[in-house]
């Protein structure tokens, strides 16, 4: 093989006492797609941020075309032709596409030929974008295209993508793969961070797998030799079977029923319209959709955090209109919110204190009910730590000292302890590693034995593994509800997510 475009040797990076990357060696070649595979927290994003100049390595060196380089900022890395598309797009939403590109282009291109360059580059790689649109008007797929054009305008020949398909619809993913292939034939070196095994097998020419901050294997992809199962095993370090034992439970009475439920999210921008469905005890009803299709507004209206505009809600035997519902007592409803760091918990409070967040009534004591029972709070927190094997010294640890998976377990155990009739889980395993995902799935399945579960997610695999019935939301509307046992229909879910109804 030719000399690698990028050669990392002995890279280490620490955050505090934690070593995110340890002694990493990696070669990346031009005209090839290099998949960097690993669980969440394995250190992939950190490594790539080091390569892209965002972080400074604490040890080791980076060689570009055989020459040793040292980047102290993303700008320097870009100048040398290394560009990265982050998971959170680095675009300024209140500015137009052109303004964003001009900003990144430094002084290299002026306003007049910027437009020409944009359309030329866009055409060459099949990246259609409207240069005059504001970024906040664009879909996630379009934003990604802007990011790619940005790097291409700067003549980047190493392009790093951090979980690029996480926010895309299945149709957008296909288009994105086509672009990647075109970039490969233009002799660009492409690094592709992911934990989705299918994507690796479909695209990658080279595969590196990271675990606990180290690259444990780096090899050419030979599709005949490598199986998904092997990759998963390498990634996690043990055999994983993401198959859950789902017992048949006959559905019980209806816990929640929505009729013509319409409203908007907190910002008032993304709407949901005329939603009808019901959730019964003993089942997991899933709402699946790509982020931004109205599901987050729908969930917060169901949970009573925002007020829906119209419609009817029946919950545990009583019926409310949209206004009454926002104020109705919801003690029998538990809710695990999507944002576990700032909504589901208070980071600087202890696990025990966080246990009282949604059930403070349970811990009031004294004649005036003004005082709090700290003892009981602490006991409950400790019990949860033991029961859910939460990695913490004690229930007095702050929530922010926990990893995402452990934090989610704290929130989950708190909500379960409320003994709800309806359990709402919003993106419950997003960003969690495989073992935490497994545990949370088991807990949800167990919960369905005594409650109705409403699962809102964008993860097709999660839905297929857990749910009994599946509602697909697109553009604020519930397009269809599909029975999970209906093998003829289940294949339509992916298409429905992209809005294809026929």
């Amino acid at each position: 093989m030719t000399t690698p475009v990028i050669s990392l040797s002995g890279i280490s990076k620490y955050f505090g006492t934690l070593a995110a990357n340890r002694d990493i060696h990696l070669n990346v070649h031009g005209g090839r797609i290099h998949a960097l595979l690993g669980e969440n927290g394995a250190g992939k994003s950190t490594l790539m941020s080091v390569l892209a100049g965002r972080y400074q390595p604490d040890d080791g060196s980076i060689a570009l075309h055989g020459r040793e380089m040292r980047f102290t900022s993303p700008a320097q890395a870009l100048e040398s032709g290394i560009g990265m598309v982050y998971q959170r797009f680095m675009l300024i939403e209140s500015m137009t596409v052109t303004e964003n590109l001009l900003l990144a282009a430094q002084k290299k291109i002026g306003g007049s030929n910027c437009r020409r360059l944009i359309s030329e580059t866009a055409e060459q790689y099949g990246l259609a974008i409207d240069p005059d649109k504001y970024v906040y008007e664009l879909s996630m797929g379009e934003r990604q295209r802007v990011e790619i054009v940005k790097l291409l305008l700067l003549d980047a020949d190493v392009l790093i993508f951090d979980e690029p398909t996480a926010v895309l619809t299945p149709v957008e993913i296909d288009a994105f793969f086509t672009v990647l292939k075109k970039l490969r034939s233009a002799d660009k070196a492409i690094i592709f961070i992911t934990h989705k095994l299918e994507e690796v097998l479909e695209l990658a020419d080279d595969i590196s797998i990271m675990r606990k901050g180290r690259v444990i294997i780096s090899t050419e992809a030979d599709r005949k030799q490598i199986s998904k199962r092997q990759l998963a095993r390498l990634m996690v370090g043990r055999d994983v079977v993401l198959r859950v034992n789902k017992e048949e439970i006959p559905p019980g009475e209806t816990v929640l029923r929505l009729r013509n439920f319409s409203g908007a999210d907190v910002h008032g921008t993304t709407r949901f319209e005329n939603i009808d469905f019901e959730v019964r005890r003993g089942e997991i009803f899933a709402i699946i959709g790509v982020a931004g299709n109205g599901q987050s507004g729908l969930v917060s209206a169901i949970a009573g955090l925002t007020r829906a505009d119209s419609g009817e809600v029946s919950f545990a035997g009583s019926t409310f209109n949209a206004r009454e519902w926002a104020k109705a007592p919801k003690d029998d409803m538990a809710y695990v919110p999507e944002d576990r760091y700032h909504t589901g918990c208070v980071g600087s409070m202890s696990i025990a204190e966080n246990f009282a967040l949604t059930q403070i009534g349970k811990y009031r004591k004294g004649a005036t009910k003004l005082a709090l029972d700290w003892q009981k709070m602490s006991e409950d927190g400790t019990r949860a730590v033991e029961e859910f094997k939460i990695k913490a010294q004690s229930a007095q640890d702050t929530a922010q000292s926990l990893s995402g998976g452990n934090l989610q377990k704290v929130i989950l155990s708190r909500e379960l302890s409320r003994n709800p009739k309806l359990f709402i889980a919003e993106q419950p395993t997003q960003g969690l590693d495989i073992s935490a995902t497994e545990e949370i799935w088991q807990a949800l399945l167990k919960c369905r034995e005594r409650a109705g579960v409403l699962l809102v997610t964008g993860d097709l695999k999660e839905v297929l593994s857990l749910s009994d019935r599946i509602g697909v939301i697109f553009n604020g509307r519930l397009l269809d509800i599909i029975d999970a046992t209906d093998s003829d229909q289940i294949g339509r879910v992916g298409l429905l997510m992209a809005g294809v109804t026929s």
Binding site: P74, M90, L91, I92, E93, N100
Partner: protein, 308 residues
Amino acid sequence: MMEDIVFIGQIAIKSSVAVLLATIGEIITERGGVLNLGVEGMMIVGALAGFAAGFATGNPYLAIAAGAMAGGALSLIHAFFTIKLRSNQVLCGLALTILGLGLANFLGRPLIGEAGVRIRAFAVPYLSEIPYLGEIFFQQSPYAYGAYILGPLAWYVMFKTRAGLVLRAVGEDAAAADAAGVNVAATRTIAIWVGGLFSGLAGSYLSLSYTPGWKETMTGGQGWIAIAMVIFCTWNPLRAFWGALLFGGLTALQFFFQATSIDIIPAYVLKMLPYLLTIGVLVLVTSSGKRRRSASPADLGVPFSRES
């Protein structure tokens, strides 16, 4: 009647210059994503430095420059603490005000009652001869003419140049600007410093031109009013003029009623009006602006660091 209006107009402009300059400065700072509540402190230090330099040298240019530089110097303290140490911006701004007022009190004591340089109004040829308008707008202190130019200039730089693009980018989304190769810390430091220069300049207007002389209470909350006006004019330097004029107009009315001893509104109520009206304006802007896409820089008050 017309004479009265011209009189009120003239004083309104005269009284609004300091607020106008300080507002423009704070808009620049906040567009870069940094809240600097130290305007009052930077103004009073600018006023003192301007007066002291004028008193010592007799040179008005040096006096103006000293005023601006003093405000700029104080603002760099804010830059160091908020950018380098990532201290809380609200608290740091308050500390800056306390420091500025303390310094002015302490250092200015010997200068009380002294007479220094006086920058007088001067009529702009031709323009000042326009009936009424000329009298109102073009028989003012050179500071006013400076402010007429600086507002539009700030607007032009902010929205029509690359420097402005960089400034706004840093204020809207520092991480994205950083990824695009912008030096966030440097940009923000400059934005704070320029804001400080404007505040210092505004202060020196008070001690050199508006009410020549030195008194440690001479800013009287104008710095705070300027910060409120930033919200009123939705971070647009062109609109700063209207915000400042509102303040100036009320001050002028106060003078007018005093001069003519018309006693419709008691003097103390008139004195309160600029503050009360500023609050009223804040309420109006905040409650009406809720539904629109917020004009406030999205990263305002958020410290930036790549590795936090």
